[in-house]
Amino acid sequence: MTSLTDLGVAAIRDGVAAGTFTAVEVAEAFNANVAAASALNAFIVTTPELALGAAKATDTRRAKGEALGLMGGVPIGMKDLFATKGVQTTAASHMLEGFVPEYESTVSQKLWDAGAGMLGKLNLDQFAMGSSNETSYFGNVISPWRRGDGGNAALAPGGSSGGSSTAVSARLAPAATGTDTGGSIRQPAAFTGISGIKPTYGRCSRWGIVAFASSLDQAGSMARDVRDCAIMLEAMAGFDPKDATSLDLAVPQWEAGLSGDLTGKKVGVPTEYRMDGMDPDVAASWDQGIAWLRDAGAEIVEISLPHTKYALPAYYIIAPAEASSNLARYDGVRYGLRELPDGAGLQDMYAATRAAGFGAEVKRRIMIGTYVLSAGFYDAYYTQAQKVRTLISRDFAQAFALCDVILAPTAPTAAFGLGEKSDDPLAMYLNDVFAVPASLAGLPAMSVPAGLNREGLPLGLQIIGRPFDEQGVLNAGLAIEQRAGFAARPEKWW
């Protein structure tokens, strides 16, 4: 039965529908893998009974001849940033430890409605702030990958969706939800040799997702191939009247529209992304990606995104500014942690609660955000960053007059070792350098595995598309996938 856990979303859905195996068999197989993988620390909470319950419901529907849904019989991992009714939702923070919502996020509800079941809540960087999973209050996730040098250094699974990337890569789940604020789906996907897509801002409802930076946060799917990402995204997306920034657009049939034939398409390669001192393996992988897309029929064009170098600083002003405000609600008054020292007044309670409830990186970003919004600094930082954001969006709009999609590396390096960058926030932030521009512009973007570097670690390639053109992004991703033939998987050591 172990081979069931090698199957992806489409294979499970189709196998269950065809009666090749039951949904319960699939859920049991993944539950077993989850239970055996505690060393990876991918889950904060496991919910085998929910996975089984959903599977039984699917099997019952099938017995009655009813439709099974886009995700019928597929168990998935849920990033612990999505509120799940009756199941602890923490955002990997001490602040929300023990918090059990009375409500279900729109995206997770859509997945359950589509026939998916929940294996558990996946670990992440605390409040989704981080690129290595080291900021989780519940201990960092460990990547299932190891360098091919025979050493056993623990590697970062990427962040913030590191539990998601590890679970999918290590066959603990065929797919998982992620959220991407400045690369939190794409970078962990790249680090662990899986695919992940962040759709256009507004495609997936943010209702019920613990907010980090509202103007950037966007949910997406992470799976082992492009088709699986397309299926799951189709189930997650859709207009939600409860989210004022939700896109009131019909959800395209992305799976049905998949095609790796890029004849007549133009692929832009941004000059500014080719940076001095670029990792040679990453540069080589990018060149290989260009060749693959040319092979798929696309014309390659050089494009310019002149404001790229300002993207990271602008991001690290806007995201913390919004976060500093979004996280003000964690004050110990209504839910979550409350620290009430003897004789404490309201201000003391705030200070003690927030000091104890937030980790160092969260505090750092709250302080940065508070600073850039404060009187006398607002114009120099926040207003300026918003101008940069507008210019970056304009860069992309001009580029998309010349091309249909953009190809770039997902991250500047392969996975780094845990602890290698945790003392240097700036080095950590630089990990987002290729991911952040698309986030600022609200564009759909995905990472697909492109091969291994000389250390035997996965590298990802990023495709960025026009607003609402997830199909173009998925198709270019598929073209790479078909040519990369990426079959590497981490050897089980856990």
């Binding site: 999505f82 509120a83 939702t89 955002a91 929300l96 918090f99 919502p101 009375e102 409500y103 996020s105 943010r206 209702w207 019920g208 997702i209 613990v210 907010a211 930076a213 509202s214 103007s215 009247p241 409860k242 989210d243 004022a244 920034t245 500014a321 919004e322 500093s324 405000s325 996280l327 003000a328 609600r329 004050d331 008054v333 209504r334 839910y335 309201l346 201000q347 705030y350 508070t370 919004l373 404060s374 009187a375 607002y378 926040y382």
Partner: protein, 498 residues
């Protein structure tokens, strides 16, 4: 120009006043959530997940609240901004679940407008003053702390959390307590006409932050203080008076006014410092990323415009002009929208009963309403809102008088009984046998009895004290329980006293 002055040791001082009025928008649900807004509900019974700022909850603007703000702006002749934006005002307090208030700092929904106030009703032409409105924006209300529920803890009631407020900011155009009072009264009147705020100041639906400064006439503006949350017209006037006096005393004693927030203590009729500018919050306003800019299309604006009712000034002019009411009656009847509504229903029903035009019956109806019904209700210690007599019943009564079925004095009696029983006029007239009589025999008999019983007064009349004529009429009407036809009674008495 107001000649209100504060007399100081160094001469006379002028007071400068601006008001920021917070008006709760009348709507079924809150500004950004579906929770209800009824006053007086059990604590925390009207709180949605959004109002409690649960993780991952998002605000969605309530179209009705936006509509009411736009209609209010239109009623104040203000510029409506088709593009506006919500900002977050960040601060920590236990009654503010989100840790920020969603408001509009940079791009409010309504821009400049104005209100005309009449300061002396006896000479409206020369005492009308225009007070500028700087802006109106919409924002969320906060919850409420309750400090009397537990010996060591405070409780939080979030029922008000997220309720929509309009903040209506005036220009510093007022120069006396009377002007401030007149402005607030007029603003409240307009809001109630528009239906965008119920104006219930005792329930906190409307409250004012009073900005006051003093200066020597002709000088630049002085430093102002802001007295928060003043909840009646009378208190606003008292705050202006007390705060102006205080400021003059401070300055004349060699002190300096500091820009600060103050609170009014009605028991001691004084303002007290709450916090100074030095420890004022840095609110770190920035555009709310959960909300898109608010864009109003022409169809929406047209609907708002079309839905505006006749406003107080126009209504008053129509009452005086088309309906021919006295200036006094027109003012009284338009002072509150509910009174005007009552009056208009009365006129409509009265005209319909009589088969006449409204203009023909309006004067009679207005006189009856302002003198008879208001007087009677006043005596009973109640008001029009809780009157047992409906406009339809009033019209029926007026119809009985107009047709000569009952006399004017019987009508007073009938009204009393209508108020006491809630019964209809015709039924009371029928039951009590109050139908007016034109039977000359009965009238003559009654007159004879009155004259016989008052032989001394008859003599005085004949000696030239003609004013006694009314006395005989009154006595006769009384003897006939108000049923005598007054015309005939007059005729008969005149003949008999011949």
């Amino acid at each position: 120009m107001s000649d209100y002055r504060v007399h100081g040791a160094t001469g006379e001082w002028e007071v400068v006043i601006g008001l920021e009025v917070h008006a709760q928008v009348t709507s079924q649900s809150k500004l950004f959530s579906g929770a209800a807004t009824a006053f007086g509900a059990e604590p925390n019974s009207q709180v949605s997940l959004v109002d409690a700022a649960m993780p991952g909850m998002l605000p969605v603007p309530n179209r009705e609240c936006i509509r009411q703000a736009v209609r209010t702006g239109m009623a104040l002749n203000a510029q409506i901004n088709p593009w506006s934006r919500f900002d977050r005002k960040n601060y920590f307090y236990a009654d503010l679940p989100q840790g920020y208030q969603i408001s509009q700092l940079y791009f409010p929904i309504v821009g400049e407008g104005e209100i005309d106030v009449v300061l002396d009703e006896k000479s409206p032409e020369t005492s009308t003053k225009t007070i500028g409105i700087e802006r109106i924006h919409v924002e969320q209300d906060a919850g409420k702390l309750m400090h009397d529920q537990h010996p060591t803890m405070s409780y939080v009631d979030l029922n008000r959390s997220g309720v929509a407020l309009m903040e209506i900011v005036s220009r510093p155009d007022m120069r006396s307590p009377a002007e401030a009072g007149a402005y607030l009264t007029k603003l409240r009147q307009i809001l109630r006409y528009v239906g965008s705020c119920d104006g219930n100041m005792d329930q906190g639906s409307m409250r004012a932050d009073v900005n006051v400064s003093v200066r020597k006439p002709g000088d630049e503006f002085g430093t102002r203080t802001e007295t928060k949350n003043v909840n009646s017209v009378r208190f606003v006037m008292a705050v202006v008076e007390a705060e102006a006096r205080r400021q003059v005393d401070v300055i004349e004693d060699g002190g300096r006014i500091v820009q600060e927030t103050r609170l009014y203590d009605p028991d001691r009729n004084e303002t007290r410092s709450m916090r100074s500018k030095e420890d004022a919050h840095d609110y770190r306003y920035f555009p709310d990323p959960d909300l898109l800019p608010l864009e109003l299309d022409q169809a929406f604006l047209d609907e708002c415009e079309a839905s505006l009712p006749e406003l107080p000034d126009a209504k008053r002019a129509r009452y005086e002009g088309a309906l021919g009411l006295s200036a006094y009656n027109a003012r009284v009847l338009t002072s509150d929208v509910e009174t005007a509504r009552w009056f208009e229903r009365l006129v409509t029903a009265t005209a319909a009963n009589a088969g006449k035009g409204e203009a023909e019956v309006a004067k009679q109806a207005s006189n009856w309403l302002t003198s008879e019904l208001f007087g009677a209700l006043n005596k009973l210690g109640t008001d029009l809102a809780s009157s047992p007599v409906t406009p339809d019943n009033g019209a029926e009564l007026l119809g009985l008088v107009a047709s000569g079925t009952i006399s004017g004095s019987a009508a007073k009696l009938v009204l009393e009984k209508m108020l006491a029983s809630g019964d209809r006029a015709a039924a009371i007239v029928e039951r009590e046998g109050l139908t007016q009589t034109s039977d000359t025999g009965a009238i003559e008999a009654a007159v004879d009895a009155v004259l016989a019983a008052n032989a001394d007064k008859v003599q005085q009349y004949k000696d030239g004290k003609e004013a006694l004529f009314g006395f005989f009429v009154g006595q006769t009407m009384k003897a006939m329980q108000g049923k005598g036809n007054p015309g005939l009674v007059n005729e008969v008495i005149k003949a008999k006293l011949g």
